[in-house]
Amino acid sequence: MFRNKKNIKYIVIIGCGRLGSELALKFSKTHNVVVIDKNEESFYRLSNRNFTGFTHTIDTTDIEALKKMKLDKADLVYIVTPDDNLNFMLAYGIKMMKYDIKLIARVNDPVKKGIFNKAGVTLFCPIENSVNDLVEDFERIEGND
């Protein structure tokens, strides 16, 4: 079935590690995806896996270079590098470019969530989410016994 063109979004993913690459593969099936990483070799995770988006090698610590990637036109920006401090600084800098941009930042260390919350940055925390899932599974199994 063909998708309605209006539903196709422009999604930018900063960081092409395990998480960023999986996100890019999934979204590229139905949306326009651009993946950015400072290390060109990171894109090997997308090769031979039917990735249909674009990749750009840019120093992710260079906010000026990121500006040139038309981030302000993105429907959604995911910041998923493994460095919480960098994710915070990028989120802040990108929001300075366009205040109402939709942006989601990864927080690796659950302890750091408070900083992102205080700045009003939408976040997701894979470790906390995994722990919650595991505890829920455990409680369900216990409940069935």
Binding site: T61, I63, L86, F88, Y92, G93, K118
Partner: protein
């Protein structure tokens, strides 16, 4: 110089030299780093300086930052790791809890400077300094030392004049400056720059570059601001 408390966050050899200088000037220094190796670098100073406190803690710990002792006379909080993102998180957190404290940060990549400035943090950008130094020495062969080699005796001040300041809307000849002080350069708000004469008028938002002997700095500020 009255005794003040300086917080230094992170940094290795730069932190060592800075802490040493501030301690020699009679100040109190609290050095904070998440890296034990950094703490070891500064540990050598403790033998001679009892006013140095070394704290091994995560400087992005929000609760710890919130409870910093700011009751003493704080000279500045100086954040000098080699990682701009870490420096930004620390300074941003500090600014959330301490609006009026002077915060300075090392910015390794000049393109990140605007974010620090947006939260009222003074920036130290060595790359920009070096660019200016190289540019100056290429354009003017005589200028080989951009920095002040007489820093122990001579201060080069940069003061921004605003409406209501004593010198605003006055001619240079009508301002009584302390002895051993001279206004060397006037920078207008549109970026134009010149060496002022007696009839030059100081206007709102002008920046003045002033050369003054160390002991005249306070009196100079009082005469102009």
């Amino acid at each position: 110089m009255s005794r003040k408390l300086f917080y230094i966050f992170e940094g290795k050899n730069l932190a060592f030299s800075l802490a040493k200088k501030l301690l020699l000037l009679g100040n109190e220094v609290f050095y904070i780093s998440n890296d034990e190796e950094n703490i070891k670098i500064l540990d050598g100073l403790k033998a001679y300086h009892k006013s140095l406190e070394l704290i091994n803690n995560d400087p992005t710990d929000i609760n710890w930052i919130k409870n910093l002792d700011m009751s003493k006379k704080v000279g500045a909080v100086i954040v000098i790791s080699e990682d701009d993102a870490l420096n930004f998180v620390i300074t941003w957190l500090l600014r959330q809890f301490y609006e009026d404290v002077r915060i300075m940060a090392l910015v390794n990549f000049p393109e990140n400077e605007f974010m620090f400035k947006s939260i009222n943090v003074s920036t130290l950008t060595p790359i920009s300094w070096m660019e200016k130094l190289i540019e100056a020495s290429l354009n003017y062969e005589d200028i080989t030392d951009f920095f002040n080699p007489y820093v122990d005796k001579l201060s080069i001040l940069e003061l921004t004049i605003n409406k209501g300041d004593k010198s605003c809307d006055k001619k240079l000849k009508d301002i009584k400056l302390p002895k051993n002080t001279i206004i060397g350069v006037q920078v207008k708000s549109d970026g134009s720059i010149f060496v002022p004469q007696g009839n030059s008028e100081i206007k709102d938002e002008d920046k003045l570059i002033i050369f003054a002997l160390k002991e005249e700095v306070q009196a100079t500020k009082e005469a102009l601001k």
